[in-house]
Symmetry: C2
Subunit: 243 residues, 2 copies
């Protein structure tokens, strides 16, 4: 147990990644309040002051503290505590460690960022470059624009020259998408003094309730799948093998 303290404190000083498992109980206070009774968990401490506590199942940490928390070990008469404080956010986690099963500390070298495709951004790029996917005669004017009316994915004119707002969703559109679209359209109507501004949702699909709402407002829906532009890139990566 003492060897554990020494290793943790040395690794914290060297800003190494720390992984250990322990029989423990955990308390959290901050934006909410939580208490986790005794059991075995996996702890991860990163050099940026991130703390993760994982149970043996589930993809999300049962407790966590974001980058920038101060972590200390506190050996008291009541036992050994791992204390984690986030001064800026007035949050803290205390874990009482009844027994430590294993520990590993290591310096990890990684300067890479992940390349990501198929996002809503990629989708609006695709529609901007291929406006006929929205409808024949559509002329895009701008995309991904932070206007004073809000953040509009694609903005343009239809075959009749009518101003048209396109709201993209990379997955099924719901109420939120309809309400966002309605907000943009009504603000542009007001601001431009134009009675006829069209609204279109572009998404792989739309929920029945949202579709009903959309129809009532006189807006349109276009079925569009998000692009997967990385597929070719990855096929060209011989290093990652065959897919």
């Amino acid at each position: 147990m003492d060897g554990f303290s020494v290793r943790v404190e040395e690794a914290l000083r060297k800003r190494e990644t720390i992984v250990f498992s322990a029989d423990c109980e955990v308390a959290y206070s901050g934006r909410a309040e939580a208490f986790l009774p005794r059991g075995d968990r996996l702890f991860i401490i990163k050099r940026d002051g991130t703390l993760l506590v994982h149970q043996p199942t589930g993809s999300n940490p049962i407790n966590y503290m974001k980058e920038g928390c101060a972590i200390t070990l506190d050996k008291t008469d009541d036992g050994l505590f791992l204390r984690c404080r986030h001064q800026g956010k007035r949050e803290w986690i205390d874990a009482r460690l009844f027994a430590v099963h294993f520990i590993h500390t290591q310096d990890l070298f990684d300067s890479e960022r992940q390349l990501l495709g198929g996002s809503e951004r990629d989708m609006s790029d695709m529609l901007f470059a291929n406006p006929s996917m929205i409808e024949p005669g559509f002329v895009p004017l701008s995309r991904e624009e932070h206007t004073r009316f809000g953040f509009i994915d694609v903005f343009g004119t239809d075959a009749q020259g009518t101003l048209t707002v396109v709201e993209c969703k990379r997955c099924a559109a719901g109420h939120n998408a309809v309400q966002q679209l309605a907000r943009y359209v009504s603000r542009i109507r007001e601001a431009k003094g134009v009675g006829t501004v069209r609204g279109i949702i572009a998404a792989p699909r739309i929920s029945a309730a949202a579709r009903k709402h959309l129809d009532e407002l006189g807006f349109g829906f276009v079925a569009v799948e998000p692009p997967k532009r990385l597929e070719r890139y990855k096929r060209d990566q011989t290093s990652i093998g065959d897919f």
Copy 2:
């Protein structure tokens, strides 16, 4: 490296928790597409078929697969690959492992669930029990109710007997909160044929834009902090020490 394969395969068979770090590159395809170039990462595999890939900084996994994926090791002429397939979701992750730095496998015992307080649910419970926090004369009729109008946090009558919908937010209220409230109020007006249904947002604060929208619709705002009911509970827990 061969010892690594043996340990992983034995741990997968025994459904133990597996932790290892490796110099690797990672590809993902599913809801989106991603590629992560070579670097050191920490891998966690849980007995329920969860895979997490962590970089040395940041609180979120850079790659992950939820519960239920099939994990295999594949030794090819191109090198060693960790392959993770999620048949139901048509998602996969392939990690090419250039070098493994350490590995630990262990069976973890944990049957506990976390007790949580300070949620929106706790907030509406508090307002239901203390209706004067909304306004004098407010009489609550229901809370957290799934009605055919939607999910209404607190529903009741004001001092004049007017039907009133209260929408709770545990943090700052924004546009969504105003739109939710407007939707509930208009549906109840329609359904009951009542012209006068009031709407109130109860939250710690409200954004300026949302407040403007709220005022235009004739709705009200009440500043309320979410309760922290676990504080006393945890103070009573002598086992977790002194706060």
